[in-house]
Assembly symmetry: C2
Homo-oligomer: 164 residues x 2
């Protein structure tokens, strides 16, 4: 059980601190067969995510993680990074999500992000939207998943009130 930070003790990154082209890499998530099967049992009960032997007959050649599980593991690394460096106010969504390669037990995943765009909100002067390209690689350096992510960030002078 992780400690839940509350609204009052969180550190936010101001919108103004993001520059187009900025890059960062972080995370080291070891994928286990146990966790692949546990996630699949709850949310994605397809044989290639559940059964080591049967998965050999699948397109993937062996047991591999649900694509949504890879998203969840990636989010876990992103939240750890936010705990260190500060956070957004939330995300309206994701574009161009591609599961490029299977994620297997024993893979160690890491995240690479690059700022693609920064747009101040016209209707809400105290927030802005940052678009990031997110790439997730395994320990062999192979990119297994990519997406672009939009994050809502506080303007430096804005405060949290979103009215207006």
């Amino acid at each position: 059980m992780k400690m839940a930070k509350t609204a009052s003790n969180l550190k936010y990154i101001p919108f103004e601190s993001f520059k187009i082209g900025q890059k960062q890499s972080f995370g080291s998530y070891e994928v286990t067969e146990h966790e692949i099967i546990e996630f699949a049992n709850k949310y994605d009960a397809q044989f290639f995510h559940l059964d080591h032997e049967a998965a050999k007959d699948s397109l993937f050649g062996g047991l591999c993680a649900s694509g949504w599980h890879t998203c969840a593991m990636t989010m876990s690394m992103m939240v750890e990074n936010m705990d260190l460096h500060g956070r957004s106010l939330g995300s309206p969504g994701i574009d161009s999500l591609r599961w490029l390669r299977p994620v297997y037990p024993g893979d160690i995943l890491s995240v690479h992000m690059e700022v693609l765009d920064t747009v101040p909100s016209k209707s809400r002067p105290n927030i802005g939207v940052v678009t990031n390209k997110v790439s997730v690689s395994n320990h062999k350096g192979v990119v297994v998943m990519e997406f672009t992510s939009k994050g809502i960030f506080r303007r430096a002078e804005g405060g949290l009130g979103l009215a207006g």
Copy 2:
């Protein structure tokens, strides 16, 4: 623990059975506070997914599910539907994923899908790609999440071999 279907006893939907404009609705997933917190503890440990009281101070006004958890619950309904009606060979990815409204404990989610496009593969004559618009609604009829999903399907005469 659900029974894992194996490669040999699965039912596949042939690519040719999809027509642009076809719609289907399915699923009834009751969202619980317990499951929201359990998922968040593992994958998205932000206070508005973890702590009922603290979440009142968030943009969402109360404890709500991780967006990735909503994706996972949606996949669970999609796999149940595939178990009834047949399945794809997998998905290369997702576009235009939008978390439109918070998902709260007590919400009952359902899935609505519409076929947007069907494209036979040029390089692999035994498969085709179907693009679906996926909308997830709560029990009040409010759309909480939308995305478009690509699925790879067998051609009727294709078989499973993907070489060629």
